[in-house]
C-alpha cells in the first residue's frame, strides 16, 4: 500500500469564463518516506491538486468536488467524513504554504500557535505540550527557542516564520508533508537553508514529502522523483536524475532551458514561448501543442496518453508498469514511429 495514491483525479471549477479544468486526470503514488516533487508553471494545476489532497478546496458555488480517488494509506479522502478529515489534516498529513504571514495568526504568539497544534493532535498534557513546542522550534533551527516562542509572527523574519510554519506542521508528527512553493518568497540564501531543513527533517523522521514548485532546480535539490504537470495533467515523471539528464517531453526540456544557472555554459536562455492558457481555454489535442516547438500534425487533434518509458534503473524498474511510479511521458513524439493511423 502506498502512503498516497491518486487515481484519475479531476477538479473542475466553475468560473465566469466557463468551466476551468484545473486538475484533469492525475495519477500518481507517493511511497512512505519518499520525497516527490511536483513542478509546473502558474496555472498548471499544482496548487489545486495540493489543496484537494488536504480537502481544502474553496467551498463555494463555483467548486465542483474532486472526482476520482485520493487514498492516504488506503483510506479514501474524496468524500470523507469531515471530522475524520480534520483529524488527518494537520495530523498525519500536514501542509506548509508559500506565505507564512497569512497562515499564522497575527495576534497570538508563535509558541502558543504551535502548542495548540500539538495539543490538538497528540495526547499530551499542558506541560509536556509546552516542552514539545520548544523541542520543535529547536528541531527547525530557530535559535533561542524560548524567546522566539514568545514572539508574535510580525517580529520574526520571513525565514524564521517559514521555520515556525514547518515546526507547526511537524507538531502532529505527520507521515506526509505537503509543501507548496514554501521557499519561493524567500531570499535565495534563506531558501537554501529552508530546503536543507526540509530535506533533513524528511530523512530524519522518515516522512513522505510532496514538494510543489515552479522551479525545477529547487525541487531537484530535495526530491527523489519528479512529476511535471501541465494543463492539469502529468506530462512526464521519473527519477530526478533522469528528468534532468534525459527529459522526454518538450515541456520538460523547455523548463530546463529556462533554468537560470551561474554556469556560463548555459548562457543562452531558451524559454518556452507564450504562457499557460486559462484553464477554461485548453486547446484540443495535446494541451501543450500551441507552445511546442516540435509539434506534429496529430498533436492538434488527439491528446496523447501517459506512457511508460524504458531506461529506468533499479528500484524504479522493479515498480514500472504500476501507473504513477516509474518513468512516464505523455507525448506523440515518443510513439510516432510505432503508430501512425
Amino acid at each position: 500500500m502506498s502512503l498516497l495514491e491518486i487515481q484519475d483525479l479531476r477538479v473542475h471549477l466553475r468560473t465566469q469564463g466557463g468551466t476551468a479544468r484545473a486538475v484533469d486526470g492525475v495519477d500518481f503514488r507517493l511511497e512512505e518516506g519518499e520525497a516527490v516533487g511536483l513542478v509546473g508553471e502558474s496555472g498548471s494545476g499544482k496548487t489545486i491538486l495540493a489543496l484537494s489532497i488536504l480537502g481544502l478546496l474553496p467551498q463555494g458555488s463555483g467548486t465542483i468536488l474532486p472526482e476520482g480517488s485520493i487514498r492516504f494509506r488506503g483510506e479514501e479522502l474524496v468524500g470523507m467524513d469531515r471530522n475524520r478529515l480534520r483529524e488527518i489534516r494537520g495530523g498525519e498529513v500536514a501542509m506548509v504554504f508559500q506565505e507564512p504571514m497569512t497562515s499564522l495568526n497575527p495576534v497570538f504568539t508563535v509558541g502558543s500557535q504551535i502548542q495548540e497544534a500539538v495539543e490538538l493532535h497528540r495526547p499530551l498534557g499542558r506541560g509536556a505540550a509546552q516542552a514539545e513546542t520548544l523541542r520543535l522550534l529547536q528541531e527547525v533551527g530557530i535559535p533561542d527557542a524560548g524567546a522566539r516562542a514568545a514572539s508574535y509572527p510580525h517580529q520574526l523574519s520571513g525565514g524564521m516564520r517559514q521555520r515556525a510554519m514547518i515546526a507547526m506542521a511537524l507538531a502532529g508528527e505527520p507521515s506526509l508533508l505537503v509543501a507548496d512553493e514554501s521557499t519561493t518568497a524567500l531570499d535565495v540564501t534563506i531558501q537554501a537553508q529552508i530546503l536543507k531543513l526540509l530535506k533533513s527533517v524528511q530523512t530524519r523522521l522518515g516522512m513522505g514529502l510532496l514538494l510543489i514548485s515552479h522551479d525545477l532546480s529547487v525541487v531537484s535539490r530535495v526530491c527523489d522523483r519528479i512529476l511535471i504537470l501541465y494543463g492539469g495533467r502529468v506530462v512526464e515523471s521519473g527519477p530526478t536524475r533522469e528528468i534532468l539528464e534525459a527529459p522526454k517531453h518538450p515541456y520538460t526540456r523547455g523548463l530546463l532551458g529556462s533554468r537560470l544557472s551561474i554556469d556560463d555554459r548555459r548562457r543562452t536562455l531558451r524559454p518556452i514561448p507564450g504562457e499557460v492558457p486559462e484553464a477554461t481555454d485548453w486547446p484540443p489535442g495535446c494541451k501543450f501543442h500551441p507552445r511546442c516547438q516540435e509539434v506534429l500534425d496529430r498533436c492538434h487533434r488527439e491528446e496523447p496518453n501517459l506512457l511508460p518509458m524504458a531506461g529506468s534503473q533499479g528500484a524504479v524498474e522493479a515498480r514500472s508498469g504500476v501507473p504513477g511510479t516509474g518513468r512516464e511521458a505523455r507525448c506523440w513524439l515518443l510513439v510516432e514511429e510505432e503508430v501512425e493511423p
Binding site: E41, T189, I190, A192, L260, D263, D264, T268, L269
Partner: protein, 337 residues
C-alpha cells in the same frame, strides 16, 4: 555588451541614507534604520550593472535614491556632472525623463481603470514630442511591439494581462519617454521561471537595440548572470564586491559573494569545484543596529583577522581587471587600503 567607450553617465559617491522607523520593528529596538552606509560606484554608458543582495541589504533604497524617489541623507549622485540630489524641480523632471524605473510588481503602479493604450498615450502627451494623435497612436503600437506585446493589447485593462505581460507593459511605460538609463528593481522575482527567462532575454535585446544603460536590482545571482556586464554585491548597506560579471561568477573574492553563489545554484560547476563554498548560515544584519567592523563578520565562515573583522570596517580595495572588494583577507594584487 559594453560599447568600448568609457563615458560615465552616473557617479555615486559615499551615498548614505538613514530614516526613522515606522511602527514597531522586529523587536530590534528603536532608532533610525541605516539603509545605505556609504555606497560608491560609477556607471558607464551602455553597460548593465547588476546590484545584488539579500532583503535588507539596501539595494531597493539605492535604486530609489538614484532617482531621488527617496532623498538620501548624505553623499552624491552625479548624472553627467550634475548632482541629482540638489537639482531644482525643472532639472529633476528632465533627469527623470532620462532615467526611468520599473518596479517588481507593475500591477501596483498601473491604474486598473485605464487601458494600456490610453495609459501610454497619456505619458506621450505629457512628456513626449509626438504631438499629433495619429503619431502617438503609432508610437504606442511601436512601444508594445518593442517589448514583445501585440498592438491589439492596447485595448486591454491591466488585469487582463498575465504577470509576464504586465512586466512587459511596465517596461514599455518606462521606455515611452525615451530614457537612456533604466533601473529595474527585482523585475522577474515574482514570475514563473519560463517567463523570467523571456523577460531577461527581452532586457538583453532592448539594451542592444536602444543602447540603454541598465541597473538591474535582484536578490538572485543566477538572474543577473545572463544580462549583466558588471555586478555590485551589497551587504548591510555597503558594496562589498564589484566585478565584471565573468570574474565575479568564476573567481569570487568576498566570502559573502561565494555564499550567495552557493545558495543560488549549488549544482553549478564553479560552486562544486572549489571548496565547495559554504552555504550561508544565519540571516542578514539588522539595519537598525548594524554590527561593528565588517558587516558580514558575524556570518563569515572564514574571518581573515578576528580583531580587524570585528572592529574595523574594511576599506574598498582595487584589484586587477576592474574589480574591487571590501574584505580584510590578504588578496594577491590588491592595492593597499
Amino acid at each position: 555588451m559594453t560599447n568600448g567607450s568609457e563615458e560615465f553617465i552616473l557617479s555615486v559617491i559615499g551615498l548614505t541614507h538613514s530614516f526613522a522607523q515606522k511602527g514597531g520593528g522586529r523587536g530590534e529596538g528603536k532608532g533610525p534604520v541605516h539603509a545605505l552606509r556609504g555606497v560608491s560606484f560609477d556607471l558607464k554608458k551602455g553597460e548593465c550593472l547588476a546590484v545584488v543582495g539579500e532583503s535588507g541589504s539596501g539595494k531597493t533604497t539605492l535604486a530609489r535614491s538614484l532617482l531621488r524617489l527617496v532623498q538620501p541623507t548624505g553623499g552624491e549622485v552625479s548624472y553627467r556632472g550634475t548632482d541629482v540630489l540638489t537639482m531644482n524641480p525643472d532639472d529633476l523632471l528632465a533627469f527623470r525623463r532620462k532615467a526611468q524605473i520599473v518596479f517588481q510588481d507593475p500591477f501596483g503602479s498601473l491604474n486598473p481603470r485605464l487601458r494600456a493604450g490610453p495609459m501610454l498615450d497619456e505619458i506621450l502627451q505629457v512628456h513626449g514630442d509626438s504631438v499629433s494623435r495619429g503619431t502617438r497612436q503609432l508610437r504606442v503600437a511601436e512601444l508594445l511591439q518593442l517589448v514583445g506585446l501585440h498592438p491589439s493589447h492596447a485595448e486591454r485593462y491591466p488585469h487582463e494581462f498575465s504577470g509576464g505581460q504586465r512586466q512587459r507593459l511596465g517596461i514599455a511605460r518606462a521606455l515611452s519617454v525615451g530614457p537612456e538609463l533604466l533601473i529595474l528593481d527585482e523585475p522577474v522575482s515574482a514570475l514563473d521561471l519560463s517567463v523570467q527567462a523571456q523577460i531577461l532575454n527581452l532586457l538583453r535585446d532592448l539594451q542592444e537595440r536602444l543602447a540603454l544603460t541598465i541597473i538591474l536590482v535582484a536578490h538572485d545571482l543566477t538572474v543577473v548572470r545572463q544580462v549583466a556586464d558588471r555586478v555590485a554585491v551589497m551587504y548591510g548597506g555597503k558594496v562589498v564586491e564589484v566585478s565584471p560579471v565573468q570574474g565575479l561568477f568564476e573567481t569570487p573574492v568576498h566570502p559573502y559573494t561565494k555564499g550567495l553563489l552557493a545558495a543560488a545554484d549549488p549544482d553549478a560547476a564553479s560552486v562544486r569545484g572549489e571548496g565547495p563554498w559554504d552555504l550561508l548560515t544565519g540571516e542578514p544584519p539588522s539595519p537598525i543596529r548594524p554590527p561593528a567592523g565588517c558587516p558580514f563578520h558575524p556570518r563569515c565562515p572564514h574571518p581573515a583577522k578576528d580583531q580587524e573583522c570585528a572592529e574595523k570596517p574594511p576599506e574598498v580595495r582595487g584589484l586587477p581587471r576592474g574589480r574591487k572588494v571590501a574584505c580584510w583577507k590578504e588578496i594577491e594584487g590588491a592595492d593597499r587600503a
